[in-house]
């Protein structure tokens, strides 16, 4: 038995080391200079801005959906848009900004609705790529629950580095001109994607109505509530805003959105702006139901400015 256990443990260690080496040391050349690297720039700006500042936290609905310069110029407060990818998960998004929030700061959390369903709030494969192939320092933002959820994907991602063709992190969206040019340079200094401002809208299918009963994961709500309490105890102000969403999808998701709102209310959390106010006509969306085009994002930014002006 002793020999069996020793050998089994040794084999498990060898296997773990093998995967860890792949994860840690073998670069993923497929994501060289891609949009994930903008995370480094966003963090750099977040850490360099003095308080008070406005910090936007969320996924790609923010990256594709803000005109931060307009907000900064209107409110005379420096802005950083940390939004990049919903696949990072709400928990990581909050965790990565937490230590940089100080007294007087305004934090606007805008999670995609999916962050409250299943366990997307703990992140997906793209988060692993970010952590191991973009900026390893960000590993410090992970919690134990992240590791539990992401372990199988981490293993798969590490192993996939042996098979170049299998390496995929970002949806290539069909490889159109926008996608080919979409990289770290697609962002402005505030963290907004500006590359798509000059591109025509793509055809977007709305999110279909689900037959399944939607259940809100209260863990994600609890995490958000805790973040708000922590930040407010530091003297910052936290506002939760709904994501921008294509009107036809919004109609199909009406009951889901309502359930999410109910769950937020049960933890004394409220959207600062009505969800319907961020549901825009389909023509204002660029390439997904969450991504606004220039006209749409200007409208949304205007609404945020209007809301924040009342708070000063």
């Amino acid at each position: 038995m002793r020999q069996f256990l020793i050998e089994t443990v040794l084999f498990a260690i060898l296997l773990t080391v093998f995967v860890a080496v792949l994860l840690w040391f073998v670069p993923n050349n497929k994501i060289k200079n891609n949009s994930l690297f903008s995370s480094i720039d966003k963090h750099h700006r977040l850490d360099s801005l003095a308080s008070p500042k406005i910090v936007f936290v969320g996924g790609s609905n923010l990256a594709f959906g803000l005109n931060s310069q307009l907000i900064e110029d209107s409110l005379k407060l420096p802005v950083v848009n940390m939004g990049l990818h919903a696949g990072f998960g709400l928990k990581y998004m909050l965790s990565e900004v937490g230590s940089s929030i100080n007294k007087g700061d305004i934090v606007i959390v805008t999670p995609e609705y999916q962050q409250f369903l299943d366990n997307i709030y703990l992140g997906e494969k793209v988060l692993i790529a970010l952590l191991f192939d973009v900026d390893k320092h960000n590993l410090s933002f992970l919690s134990f629950s992240h590791f539990v959820k992401l372990f199988p994907q981490m293993t798969k991602y590490g192993v996939s580095k042996l098979f170049y063709k299998k390496l995929d992190v970002m949806d290539d969206g069909g490889g159109n001109e926008f996608v080919r040019n979409f990289n770290r340079n697609a962002f402005n200094k505030y963290g907004d994607i500006v590359l798509h401002w000059n591109y025509p809208n793509e055809l977007i299918n709305p999110i279909a109505q689900s037959d399944k009963e939607v259940k809100v994961n209260l863990k994600s709500v609890e995490i958000l509530a805790k973040f708000k309490t922590d930040m407010e105890s530091r003297g910052a102000r936290v506002f939760i805003m709904p994501p921008s969403l294509q009107n036809s999808s919004y109609k199909n998701l009406a009951s889901t959105v309502s359930k999410i709102e109910d769950s937020l209310h049960s933890h004394n959390l409220y959207f600062s702006i009505k969800t319907s106010e961020f549901a825009y006509p389909d023509s204002l969306f660029f390439n997904t139901v969450y991504h606004l085009n220039k006209e749409g994002l200007d409208m949304r930014s205007g609404k945020i400015i209007e809301f924040l002006k009342d708070k000063f």
């Binding site: 038995m1 084999f11 060898l14 093998f18 199988p152 798969k156 042996l162 299998k166």
Partner: protein, 482 residues
């Protein structure tokens, strides 16, 4: 809980350590532990059916006690009645859950056929996973006790452990009480060689399930769901892939089950013996789902007279077991026709008394098969694959249509499927199993090929890597539904 899930990857080492280090106080405690973890394993899928399994197990155990009691009192008739009631109860439960709707629908269809429409409502019944497997295991016990082939289990815990033993609970091998039950009476000693080889067998099973079966499933499902619009060459390829899917799925499950049992000091019966290297249908049935085939042989074929009577009776008995076997697989006429198809293939061998001409290992003395053997293997594989079309199709008419679509000029076109990587894996499976055809599984006695441990570990890591990277997605095993 599925063998190919993260939950099982956590469950197995915990149970293993507790079994050997905490609950090894005595056999009874160890058996009780097996019962508890087996019920957890089963309840992970659906806890509502734990009670059902527990009740049928208890009834079977009690029937064993009473059968023996009446035997001792020379009251064989009552012993027979008790045994029969247990059989009726078990088959009744199986019938309710598995065949109720089938019978109702067939009954209604029959009335419609004779111009008398009938309205009987079917029920929404969930089939308890593995019910066919543990029911057959309980039945074999009751029959064997009646036949006095085995002493009834005095210890209820051992009996519960025998019926619910988690490695083989939901998809076999269907163990006989004569083989497995006595293993619960004896003290188990940890065996290093058995455990190491058990782990290898698990790894090989995972390869077959996750790499072969799950990837084949993607192709097979897409083609079978849309077969009217596919070319004949694509249909042919999908039929071949289904042959590998069902083999990889079920034999993979059996390897994991047997390997897991070996870790706990148990020897389960072999369930597959490289069936696709068979040279005729009779040999195929000696190598495919051995535990079920031999179950039908021992409890149906032999009691009916087997091959001892006239040729007519032998043929009749053969038809009976193939039809029952088809019906066992599911409440659908497709399975019945599948069984019938195999019975028809079997008859010429029976009449020519050639059903036992291939009892040795193919190409036993040579590295490669001869031309004749290769032709026999390929011919048998084609026949078996035709049978699988019935097995896989949604209805008998769909199966016939599928087969008729194979006879088309488009058979000579290039299939519209991208299967290069999967074909490499299937080739790898065939090559490894061919080399290992004299052994228990694909990685058996790998030491004779790779002397150094490092070399063997590299092979294991390579296999794990392939499983992680190229594994298909699946929620279940095909045989869970049976």
């Amino acid at each position: 809980m599925l063998f190919n899930s993260i939950e099982f990857a956590v469950f197995l080492p915990i149970v293993f350590l507790l079994y050997w280090f905490v609950f090894n106080v005595n056999i009874r405690i160890q058996n009780l532990f097996i019962v508890v973890v087996s019920y957890i394993f089963y309840g992970w899928w659906d806890s509502r059916f734990l009670l059902l399994m527990g009740a049928t197990t208890l009834f079977s155990w009690l029937s064993g006690i009473f059968i023996e009691k009446f035997h001792i009192n020379n009251n064989k008739k009552v012993a027979g009645i008790v045994s029969l009631s247990n059989i009726i109860l078990n088959l009744g439960i199986l019938g309710c859950f598995k065949y109720y709707n089938f019978f109702v629908e067939s009954f209604v269809d029959a009335f419609v056929l004779f111009g008398r429409p009938l309205e009987i409502n079917t029920l929404k019944i969930i089939l308890p996973v593995g019910i066919s497997f543990y029911t057959f295991q309980a039945l074999s016990y009751s029959i064997d006790v009646y036949r006095r082939k085995i002493e009834p289990a005095k210890d209820v815990v051992s009996f519960f452990a025998y019926v619910s033993f988690f490695p083989q609970l939901v998809a076999g091998p269907i163990e006989r009480a004569t083989n497995l039950l006595p293993q619960f009476y004896k003290a188990r000693k940890f065996d290093y060689t058995e455990s190491v080889d058990g782990l290898r067998q698990i790894l090989w099973g995972l390869f077959k399930k996750i790499i072969i079966a799950d990837n084949c499933a993607v192709i097979v499902n897409s083609v079978f769901d849309n077969y009217q619009n596919e070319s004949a060459s694509t249909l042919l390829l999908a039929a071949i892939f289904f042959s590998f899917q069902i083999y990889g799925d079920f034999s993979g499950y059996s390897d994991i089950a047997i390997g897991t049992a070996r870790l706990f000091g148990f020897q389960l019966m072999r369930n597959f013996n490289y069936p696709y290297f068979s040279r005729d249908i009779a040999e195929f049935w000696r190598r495919w789902h051995i535990s079920l085939t031999t179950w039908f042989r021992d409890y149906i074929y032999f009691p009916l007279g087997g091959s001892r009577g006239t040729m007519y009776k032998t043929i009749r008995n053969t038809f009976v077991i193939f039809l029952v076997s088809g019906f066992w697989h599911g409440a659908n006429w497709t399975f019945v026709v599948w069984g019938l198809f195999h019975a028809i293939l079997f008859i010429p061998l029976l009449i020519g008394k050639k059903n036992r001409q291939h009892t040795n290992i193919v190409a036993e003395e040579t590295v490669l098969p001869g031309v004749k053997e290769l032709a026999q293997i390929l011919f048998t594989f084609i026949l078996v694959s035709i049978g699988w079309i019935f097995f896989r199709s949604g209805s008998v008419s769909a199966a016939f249509e599928y087969i008729s679509l194979l006879f088309d000029r488009s058979l000579f076109t290039i299939p519209t499927l991208n299967v290069t990587t999967l074909s490499v894996f299937i080739f790898m499976l065939i090559a490894i199993e061919w080399i290992q055809r004299r052994s228990l599984h694909g990685l058996f006695q790998i030491e004779s090929f790779l002397k150094y441990r490092l070399g063997r570990w590299i092979v294991y890591i390579l296999l794990i890597t392939l499983i992680i990277q190229f594994g298909g997605k699946s929620d279940t095993f095909i045989y869970f539904q049976f």
